[in-house]
């Protein structure tokens, strides 16, 4: 990455922690444990041991049993496996699924596919703070609801849903509960022995691990069945066939081990930087609006709307910052952020909103510089604009 670019897009992906990269390197070459973990010979058994250690490390971060962790290619596959797998397995029980309008596309597009497969899906509208209210879930449930999928933390605005309350309502109705935790693992405490959750999706690359690896938690007691998406070989209890990517799995395991040990430090660090950024922006651009709930949220994500200026110009003006935007120009579907629109923001404000996300390696100086750049460019563009009519 060019030196002058300030990376504030940790919610999109994190750099791999050097400790993770070092660990992974030991599982690739002739000198390392490159063998197929399914092989019965000694190198294979050693590789298998490394995979199982990684499984324990992932399970430990979220207080699950190692046998409840299924490795996948990432959170998107985990979401697909959870939603399609459960819906199809239990289709004789019912064909209604509940989710929210501000889920990640991995969930929304999967639900759209279920609709094409003959299921009915209810999309809950979040409240103005970007939260899915438990009562709204209760109202959406029907006798034929088989599955509810609600994200833990929203990837655009960082708000954290009350998973315990929602899960209790879902289970009272007798439905299964899936949670996408790609944005919360390593940032918020997750205790799957206490939380009423049956399926939970995890990502490696949002937690300083490698891309191309994720996991799905599948509750064992009571046991939930899934129809697999990928067949062949019977790996991962038959739920996800394919040769296990040892180096990726070991990398995710190491990343989750570090996250577990360093979460208090990471959270303190990110919370302070986020607060610093918001204060700096709020002082220099008093019109700036915080998108999402002010306190019920994850530590590292700050989504700010900048009224009165055009989004593409703001993002282009801030090209020294690696940030994400609700602007149409950065979206492949050329539409304003559906999350911000669901919150009731108009197209203009949704388009001129920026998601800043800080992480383990972000510095105070970077945040200070970023706030200065955004503020200067905001005022420059505002001065260019005609008086608002």
């Amino acid at each position: 990455m060019p030196e002058k670019i300030i990376y504030l897009d940790y919610a999109a992906t994190t750099p791999v922690d050097p400790r993770v990269a070092q660990k992974m390197a030991g599982f690739l070459t002739c000198e390392g444990l490159f063998a197929n973990p399914a092989s019965a010979h000694t190198p294979g058994r050693k590789a298998r041991g490394a995979v199982e250690q990684a499984r324990m490390q992932v399970a430990a971060l979220v207080n699950a049993e190692p046998g409840e962790i299924i490795f996948t290619s990432g959170a998107t596959e985990s979401d697909n496996l959870a939603i399609k797998g459960a819906a199809h397995f239990y289709r004789d029980k019912g064909r209604h699924v509940v989710t929210s309008r501000i889920e990640h596309k991995a969930v929304l597009d999967t639900c759209k596919q279920l609709e094409r497969d003959g299921f009915e899906v209810t999309y809950i509208k979040p409240n103005a703070d970007g939260l899915v209210e438990p009562q709204a879930v209760a109202q959406a449930l029907r006798p034929d609801t088989v599955l509810v999928s609600i994200m833990h933390v929203n990837n655009e605005i960082g708000t954290a849903n009350d998973i315990a309350a929602i899960g209790a309502i879902v289970h009272a109705q007798g439905a299964w509960f899936h949670v996408d935790a790609a944005q919360s693992a390593g940032k918020l405490p997750i205790d799957l022995k206490q939380m009423p959750v049956d399926l939970m999706s995890f990502s490696g690359h949002k937690v300083y691990g490698p891309k191309g690896i994720g996991a799905l938690y599948v509750r064992s007691q009571p046991h939930i069945n899934l129809d697999p998406l990928i067949h062949g070989g019977g790996h991962e209890h038959g739920l996800r066939s394919g040769t296990l990517a040892t180096h990726q799995i070991v990398g995710m395991g190491e990343a989750y081990r570090i996250a577990r040990e360093e979460m208090p430090k990471d959270v303190t660090h990110c919370s302070a930087l986020r607060q610093q950024l918001w204060r700096a922006l709020h002082v220099t651009v008093p019109e700036a609006l915080l998108n999402g709930h002010p306190s019920q949220r994850v530590c590292g994500i700050l989504n700010v709307g900048f009224p009165g200026i055009e989004g593409e110009s703001l993002l282009f003006a801030c090209h020294d910052l690696a940030v994400s935007s609700g602007s149409a120009c950065t979206s492949t579907d050329k539409a304003p952020s559906f999350v911000l629109r669901a919150l009731g923001r108009d197209d203009q404000l949704a388009g001129s909103s920026i998601r800043f996300s800080v992480g383990r390696f972000t510095t105070k100086e970077e945040v200070q510089t970023a706030a200065r750049i955004v503020s200067e460019e905001y005022h420059r563009l505002q001065e260019l604009a005609p008086a608002a009519g």
Partner: protein
């Protein structure tokens, strides 16, 4: 995801970063023709002012613009191009052609049309009232 700004040439980038002639003429200026086009809620709004000399040529321009980088850069480049032209020539100036010459993608055509409409609206006032009066609507400085 492809770079959303890849279509912007160095010229477009330079005029976006440092727009020429931006702003408005101070109140009280005479011989000012003003016109506007676009609406903010549709993503772009442009107000153009043309200062016409006693000889009937555009001596200077100002504009205010809300819009994407292409809209801002086109306002800047157009303001440079209009100097020395008659209002009639300004009314016929093709910002769309300018956008094509800059290599802007087809989806930015609407930006060019909005700038063109604002210039035409301003220049059209000269045709309507050759004896320019200070009473012509003026933009805030």
């Amino acid at each position: 995801m492809p770079d959303p700004f890849a279509a912007y040439s160095d010229t477009v980038r330079a005029h976006f970063r440092t727009p020429r002639n931006a702003g408005g003429f101070a109140a009280g200026h005479e011989r000012i023709l003003a016109g506007s086009a676009g609406q903010r809620r549709y993503g772009r709004e442009v107000e153009f002012q043309l200062q016409v000399t006693a000889e009937g040529r555009i001596g200077d321009c100002r504009y205010r613009v809300y819009g994407c980088p292409a809209t801002i850069a086109l306002c800047s480049l157009t303001s440079e191009a209009l100097k020395g032209r008659t209002p009639a020539e300004a009314a016929g100036f093709s910002v769309v052609t300018l956008a094509e010459q800059l290599g802007l993608p087809a989806e930015k055509r609407a930006a060019a049309v909005t700038v063109e409409d604002a210039v035409r609206a301003a220049a059209g006032r000269y045709n309507a009232a050759p004896a320019i009066s200070p009473a012509v609507p003026q933009l805030q400085a």
